[in-house]
Every structure is written in C-alpha cells, then in structure tokens.
C-alpha cells in the first residue's frame, strides 16, 4: 500500500532547530512542514515590511535553509514552509541566493502568496460582506478600520498542490494555514480532489493528521502529562506521520530520538486548541475527531484509524489585527517573614500611587506569584509563612505614557516598599495588537503562486 512520510520541522517562530536537522538527516521523511506564524506574528512581519519593503518574512529561514538545504537535497526531502510571512516572494529570492551560494541547483521554489486581504478589504466590504467579530459578535470593522495592522486569510493547500505538481522542490508560502503545509503534500501524492466526495474523508484524515503533527514537539513529549517518562527530553524528536492511501496513519518520530509518542500524547494534541471536536474547521476540510480511534503499535508508534469528516467550508478564517492600547507591567518579590503580607502591602501602595498620578486604566490586574497567579479564584490560600511571594502588577491603558507609569511605580517599590523587596530586570511597555477573528468568502481571497527556477 502506498504511504507518504511527512514530518514536522517547526511549530512557531523561535522553535528549536536541531530536531528539524536531525529529522532531515535521518532520511525517514519525504516532506517536512515548517510553521513559523502565529496571530501576532503577521502584524509584526507587516510592520517590518512597512519599514523595509525587502523584509517581512521570517528572517531565521536564511540560516535554517543554509544548514537544511544541503541535507534535504541529498535525501530528497521537500520542505513546505509558511516562513514567507508578509513577503513570500522576497523570502524566496533570499533562499534562491542560498541555493546559488551552496551550488545546490537546479531547483524550483514554489512561491504561494495572496493571503493579505488588507489592500482590498474595503472592496470586499463594498460588495456587501461584513467582517463580523466571531468572539464578540460585533457586526463589522467600522470601529477599528483606521487602526488595522494586518488582515490575513488562513488559506488552504490548493496552490501548494499546484506547485508541487509543477515540480517544485520546496514551497515558500505566506499565511497558509499550518494545517495546509501537511494537507498539500498528501493531496499531491495521492491525487485527491476537493470537489470529489469520494475523497472527503481522506482529506479530512489529512486535516486531522496535520493537526496532530503541526505543533512539532507538542505531540512527542513536549507540554505533556507524560513529562516524567519522556526519554532524553533534551534530544526530543519531532513527529512524523506515515500516511497510508487507505486513510490510516501512524504517528511516530525519528528512530533513536528522544521524547515520547504514545496514545496519551496523541490524545493530548488531538484535543489541543480546538473547540467542537466533531467539527475541526480548516481551510481544506473539516475533521471529526469523535469518530477516530487510536491503537498503540509498540514503542513510539500510534496508529490513527477511522478518521472522518466533511468537505471544506466556503469561507476562510481571517485574522484582523488592530492597535488597541498598551500594557505596562511590573514585578517585585518579597522574602519571609510575612512574604504574602508584604506583597499585599506593596499592592496597596502601588494602587494609591496610580490614583495620585491619575492614570486611566482600561484594566488593572494584581497577582501574587507563588500563591494565586495561575489558580486565580481556584487557589487554596494556605495560612502559612511562605518562603517568598511575588507581586505582579499589570495595567492596560490607551496611551504609552500611562502604561509607562505602571512600570515606573513598580520600580519605586525597590526603594519604598517593605524590607527585602527584590527585583529583576524591569519589563518594557508593549503595544497591544488586539485580534478580530472573522470570516471571508473563499472566492474573495486572491491567492496566487509562481514557480521560481534556480540555476
């Protein structure tokens, strides 16, 4: 039975590099997906591009490709990445230089772009579409229109499939969904079509498997309840899916790598960051995780069977980022005796100072680190003398200047607070890019692709 071997090389901008290189060196995969984008990342990359038209992609892709391309070329592995971010074409031009420098050509790079709908968002609205906020229910973007920093649609695998068919040796895309990085190669290899209902469950299986492996270490021992039994976690191996043409898949990791893949780690990730498990909505299909079953097939191998789902939706998710104030934050730690009392005293002191300086807070938050910062109202406060307690104070304001007051008053606690007040390094005020999740008609998004030939 035909099978396709596909692995995950990255889950975010800043992921560790060696598991990707080790997977490429192992030669155990034909394709590797590299996700580098999160909601906020697109707004940051857009700002980089505004300042410099030749920026706006994930800069790490250059040093990564210098080390990966010699190995992937030798082992015939095709890399699919969304590191193009806000500027896929420029990213491809830079990777072209790497290929030429290292004399790895001839190669073909598939460049996929067109997810940025900001340039024509008003045209879409003029045709009667409203960008309703899926979180708050607000009808359209009028109240934030002049503050929008990015608007990117999560596009699907269509053009990845197209350029692989055209002979691309690697794909550099913009904001294609993380999931499409995996669905694309599988659709290409197996020849599935979106419009043929015979393939609906198979594509949904690819969507499901994409979800399982797209977050790199998160299914192979990272962020896991299995942390105590994860083997050499510092040598963690990123996940590999062996996808079979009958729609079953085995989740595993490179031989000899550290970490753990068992039915618990796969469950953890299936249930991770989803809402309705029967309707996992992605641009290429809808996965139904309530039908599938997991079968452990020996150490670090889990088979996923009976994957089902529905055909892809007519709308795409669009993430609109807009400027929405500033956050200022301060942190001070107090030692025993009376650590918690000292922290409470300091919280009162700092609040009085805010009153005096007349800051208008949109929101102010006080946490006692080591006591209730993560547990909130679910914390059981013990009547004991804690060794140490931290005071964390965070405020959101409309202006930079007001947010700066939070930071400054927290530092004043160093000299004016209770005895023993200890501080680290003060945190800088940060601008807030709030997110407006919405939908856009699939047909309204002008995705495009090209094949860049490198001699």
């Amino acid at each position: 039975m035909k099978k396709v071997l596909i692995g995950s090389g990255s889950a975010f901008w800043g992921d560790i590099f060696d598991p990707a290189l080790e997977m490429a060196q192992s030669g155990e995969v034909q394709y590797m997906g590299f996700d580098h984008l999160a909601e906020l990342t697109m707004a940051i990359l857009n700002r980089m591009k505004e300042k410099n038209p030749e920026a706006g992609y994930i800069p790490d892709i250059i040093p990564w490709m210098k080390r990966l391309l010699p190995v992937t070329t030798k082992n015939h592995i095709k890399m699919i990445t969304n590191a193009g971010g806000a500027n896929p074409l420029q990213a491809a031009l830079e990777v072209k230089k790497v290929i030429q420098e290292l004399k790895l050509g001839p190669m073909k790079i598939g460049v996929v772009s067109g997810d940025d709908i900001l340039p024509y968002i008003d045209n879409i609205r003029a045709q009667g579409w409203k960008f309703k906020n899926l979180d708050t229910g607000e009808e359209d973007i009028d109240s934030i229109r002049d503050r929008i920093a990015a608007a990117n649609a999560y596009t699907g695998a269509d053009l990845i499939v197209k350029e692989l068919k055209n002979g691309a040796d690697m794909i550099i895309a913009g904001r294609v969904s993380d999931n499409a990085l995996y669905v694309g190669p599988l659709m290409h290899e197996f020849g599935w079509k979106f419009d043929d209902p015979a393939y609906t469950d198979l594509i949904a299986a690819a969507v499901t498997v994409g979800h399982i492996i797209e977050c790199s270490a998160c299914v192979s021992g990272g962020m896991s309840n299995m942390w105590k039994v994860s083997e050499r976690p510092w040598d963690i191996g990123f996940p590999i899916a062996e996808f079979y043409e009958n729609g079953e898949a085995v989740i595993t990791k490179p031989k000899g790598s550290g970490g753990i893949v068992n039915s618990w780690t796969v469950k953890e990730h299936l249930l991770y960051e989803i809402v309705d498990p029967a309707n996992y909505l992605m641009p290429d299909g809808i996965g139904d995780f309530t039908a599938l079953q997991l079968v452990e097939e020996g150490r670090n191998r889990v088979r996923v069977i009976n994957m089902k789902g529905k055909k892809r939706p007519d709308t795409l998710k669009v993430c609109i980022g807009f400027k929405d104030g500033f956050i200022g934050e301060g942190l001070v730690y107090f030692p025993a005796p009376d650590a918690l009392e000292k922290a409470k005293w300091a919280a009162k002191w700092v609040k009085e100072r805010f009153k005096k300086s007349g800051v208008n807070f949109r929101e102010l938050r006080v946490d006692f680190m080591g006591v209730n910062m993560l547990h909130g109202e679910a914390a059981t406060i013990e009547d004991k003398d804690y060794n140490e307690v931290g005071l964390r104070i965070a405020g959101r304001t409309n202006t930079y200047k007001e947010a700066e007051v939070v930071r400054r008053e927290a530092t004043h606690l160093w000299t004016m607070g209770p005895v023993g007040a200890s501080f680290g390094v003060p945190m800088n005020v940060r601008p807030v890019i709030a997110l407006w999740p919405s939908l856009v008609p699939r047909d309204a998004v002008k995705v495009e692709s090209q094949l860049m030939e490198v001699e």
């Binding site: 909601e39 906020l40 899926l134 979180d135 962020m223 896991s224 309840n225 299995m226 105590k228 039994v229 994860s230 083997e231 050499r232 753990i260 068992n262 618990w264 469950k267 953890e268 299936l270 249930l271 991770y272 960051e273 989803i274 809402v275 309705d276 498990p277 029967a278 995780f289 309530t290 039908a291 599938l292 079953q293 997991l294 980022g321 929405d324 104030g325 956050i327 929101e363 102010l364 938050r365 946490d367 680190m369 910062m373 993560l374 547990h375 909130g376 109202e377 679910a378 059981t380 964390r392 965070a394 405020g395 959101r396 807030v432 890019i433 709030a434 997110l435 999740p437």
Partner: protein
Amino acid sequence: MKKVKLAELAFARSGDKGDVSNIGLMAKSKNIYDYLAKVITPEKVKEYFGGMVKGGVEIYPVPHLDSLEIILRQALGGGATCTLRFDQTGKSMGPVLLGMEIQASEELLEEAKAVDLDIEKQYACS
C-alpha cells in the same frame, strides 16, 4: 467513596483560541470516563474557576478517546495578545482544573492507579 483531586483520575492539557480557553480532560480509563462524563458538568466547572471565566462553559464528549473537551468562553482576558494574565495562552488552566475535588469510588481509584503504574513501567527511562 473518597474525596480526591481530579488529577488522580484524569490528565489535562489546555490552550487558547482567542478568548476561549480549552481543556482536554483525558480520563485514565473507560469506566472513569463514563463517571466523569456524568459528574463534570458546565455548572461545576464554572463555579470552580469563579471570576476567571466570564462567559459560558460547554463540554463536548469524545467517548472514543475517553475524553471531554471543555470550552471556557471569555476566560483569557480578551485573548493572548491583549490579556493582562501572566499565563497569556491559558496553558495552566488544564492542570488547575485537575486540582478540583470530587468523590470517587475505590474501584475507579484503583483503575487509575493501575494506569499510572503501567505508564511508569512501560516507559520508564533508564
């Protein structure tokens, strides 16, 4: 019946989707799942988290995985990019839920313990 923390009967992992905190609650056995599916109600979860969860709570059963998907709306201070929470993406919400106290029978507790021992035995690292 014995009063225990949920951690004895299940694993949990949580993350974010905008202002939604989602918790995958994985029962340690089929029997435990059947029991938890009855006693872990949206009302009980909402009460446990108190003011941390400003919106509604929904629970989706995933019986083939012996798991519950717990959805907490308006629970992350507006979402990762604008929240004042230290834990911006709600990674701690699952483990925090495991601190909830519930009643459990000796049989279920023994089943759970057997699963813990099995994991330790199977995957023990040298």
